[in-house]
């Protein structure tokens, strides 16, 4: 098999901690030694609660945030070692769609200007007629009428704004699209439309996707593989159908149980509050909320172990615990 499109190795992002500045540990890890790979055309679902470091992780991959340590290999080339100009050239291959579409579109730009921007920067040689054709095609591709180009973002609904943001992101046919809670602020009836649109575009353009969501049900629909992030660390990764049928990590199980609880009958959910990266202890980050934790769990960070070649779990006790069926 070819080298993966994206290979993240032991990536850490630290932020200075004002409260602990005077001590030796002057920083806290928002992302702590995260490793995963993404193959061309594949969708990786990234799940985690607020503060788990999902957004920090993808921003670090795109170099929108300074990285503390680790490597980000893009088609074999270390992105973190690139100078600004070379990095800029790579950016057309990797795009991101944010949660709040209205906030990520410039309110003073028309749809035409918004969609022309990537073309102006990366394909400056296009003549005007060709650019207009590309813009119209871009709009139609996301299910909007080409005659909407002269309108401003505020004239559209939330779902339509997200379509515009997606049109902008795929204007240059990127190899990877990152969706950071791209459907979370949309109504239920619109969420499905956008998820299906993304799935269609992925097939059409052959893009890889990292799909971030706190909603497991949405992740389940779109992802080939799923990675679960807790307190800045990945705790489990597995093919989608396997994760939802045989989760191994107690945190993944708790997440699934909580969603099922909101679906139907009461069942035990995780107690306590989600742990922000700030509080990440030395051992397993989930130990203080985990019903299965033993004293050993807070002593060492659990290493990746393979349940199957594709199903990885970072838990000291996974072998002793039944999978969630």
């Amino acid at each position: 098999m070819n080298a993966p499109l994206l290979q993240v190795e032991e990536l850490s992002v630290r932020f200075p901690d004002r409260r602990r500045r005077m001590r030796k540990t002057g920083s806290l890890a928002a992302v702590d030694a995260v490793s995963f790979t993404l193959a061309a055309g594949e969708t990786l679902g990234l799940v985690g609660e607020s503060g788990s470091g999902k957004s920090t992780l993808v921003r670090a991959i795109l170099r929108l945030l300074p990285v503390d340590s680790g490597r980000v290999l893009w088609r074999g080339e270390d992105l973190l070692a690139l100078d600004r100009q070379s990095m800029r050239r790579r950016r057309r291959e990797m795009q991101i769609v944010f949660q709040d579409p209205l906030a990520s579109l410039d309110p003073r730009m028309t749809v035409r200007e918004i969609l022309a921007e990537p073309l102006r920067i990366f394909e400056p040689g296009l003549d005007r007629g060709e650019r207009e054709r590309r813009i119209a095609a871009g709009l139609e591709r996301v299910g909007l009428a080409a005659d909407m180009v002269a309108r401003f973002p505020h004239e559209f609904s939330g779902g339509q704004c997200q379509r515009i943001a997606i049109a902008r992101a795929v204007m240059l046919a990127p190899k990877m699209l990152i969706c950071d809670e791209a459907v979370s602020s949309l109504d239920v009836s619109i969420q499905g439309q956008i998820v299906n649109l993304l799935a269609d575009l992925q097939r059409e353009l052959g893009m890889a996707m990292i799909f971030i969501s706190h909603n497991l049900s949405v992740i389940r629909h779109i992802s080939h593989r799923v990675a679960v992030l807790y307190a800045g660390r990945l705790v489990e990764q597995a093919p989608g159908d396997r994760l939802f049928k045989a989760a191994l990590h107690p945190y993944t199980k708790a997440l699934l149980a909580a969603e099922a609880l909101l679906d139907t009958a009461p069942r035990a959910a995780a107690s306590g509050d989600p742990l922000g990266a700030a509080a990440a202890p030395r051992g397993c980050g989930f130990a203080n909320r985990c019903a299965e934790a033993r004293s050993a769990c807070s002593l060492a960070v659990p290493a990746w172990e393979s349940a199957t070649p594709e199903h990885l779990v970072a838990c000291h006790r996974w072998r002793e615990l039944p999978p969630r069926l």
């Binding site: 009836s189 389940r220 909580a258």
Partner: protein, 327 residues
């Protein structure tokens, strides 16, 4: 004044809320009627812009000054729509309480939790501060805050999102209210914490026997807590039904679509998500015909011109549709 449990504690009749000039009017709530008794939970479900929050803001007297209202909102027999601020202040926070979506925004940032809870009791229950502190402490225990003593001394920003929402719930229950309105109480929370708050609300319903009005876009949440559901679309109630009937006998095509679209962990595996075509309606939509008709697979010519009324009148289970699904 004890309330006869047969009489609804909260009764909303033909409520309408409008904004804007007559030429350019936004009708955000249209002819809505609801009733909630003590001990029961009414869920109001609808998407953003459907008017569900405007209904409760009208009940609480918290609408924007430019809003125009018609109809009637009675709380324990007392008309609230025309009530003075003094009357509203006597009821609000005491017998008629509210839990907001974002507890950080709803709590005062510069006052300790103990002060914020205590002042409700001092003001509404004429307690001394010493009594109020004791009562607040007991209430924080009942909403399962791990260290209630410390919590009383903390500021809102020192608490996690889940703890803040517990404090909001404690606050709403301090004066043993007849009605608590919870507007998207779990939307801002993480999913594991959401489940805890749902559990807590369920337990508090048992303990306090208040009438609970639960507003959400999330049918799953409502189904887990409510007894009855009012489905709101474009400012109107389009269906009233019992939660038990939700899965089997929803009759309005919009309700059915909401159930179909809700992503779940069970059932269908990977693949396309079910969708509802089109866009949510805008508040400028005219009142001719059924507002859902443009997105409805069952719509016929009649739906575009004649607005369906909720029928049968005065029944517990009602649907506003010319061509409802068979139950």
């Amino acid at each position: 004044m004890p309330v006869d449990s047969a009489d609804p504690a909260l009764q909303v009749d033909a409520l309408s809320v409008e904004y804007g000039s007559p030429a350019d009017v936004s009708r955000v709530v249209r002819d809505v009627s609801l009733a909630v008794r003590r001990g029961e939970c009414l869920g109001i479900v609808g998407e953003s812009g459907s008017g569900k929050s405007q209904i409760v803001l009208a009940v609480m007297g918290l609408l924007d000054a430019h809003a125009r209202t018609r109809g009637s909102v009675k709380f324990r027999g007392e008309q609230l729509l025309s009530a003075t601020t003094a009357t509203l202040n006597r009821l609000r926070g005491a017998k008629l309480a509210m839990i907001f979506q974002d507890p950080l925004a709803a709590l005062t940032p510069h006052l300790k939790i103990g002060v914020q809870l205590g002042e409700i009791l001092v003001r509404h229950a004429q307690m001394s501060w010493r009594e109020a502190d004791e009562r607040s402490l007991a209430m924080l225990q009942r909403v399962r805050i791990a260290d209630p003593k410390q919590c009383l001394r903390q500021y809102p920003h020192e608490l996690s999102g889940g703890m803040r929402q517990r404090v909001m719930i404690a606050m709403s229950l301090l004066c043993e209210p007849d009605i608590v309105i919870a507007d998207e109480p779990t939307t801002a929370l993480d999913v594991t914490v959401q489940a805890q708050i749902v559990d807590l609300l369920r337990a508090m319903r048992q303990d306090f026997q208040m009438g609970l009005v639960l507003i959400s876009h999330d049918l799953g949440l409502i189904a887990g807590l409510a007894d009855r559901i009012a489905v709101v679309y474009a400012g109107r109630v389009v269906e009233n039904l019992a939660v038990a009937d939700l899965a089997r006998s929803a009759r309005h095509p919009y309700t059915a679509a909401l159930i179909e679209c809700a992503p779940t962990l069970t059932g269908r595996t990977q693949g396309r998500m079910p969708t509802l075509p089109g866009q949510p309606p805008s508040p400028e939509t005219s009142d001719e015909g059924c507002a859902f008709a443009p997105r409805c697979a069952r719509a016929q010519a009649r739906c575009g011109v004649e607005r369906p009324a909720l029928s049968p009148p005065d029944a517990a289970t009602q649907v506003a549709c010319h061509f409802p699904l068979s139950p």
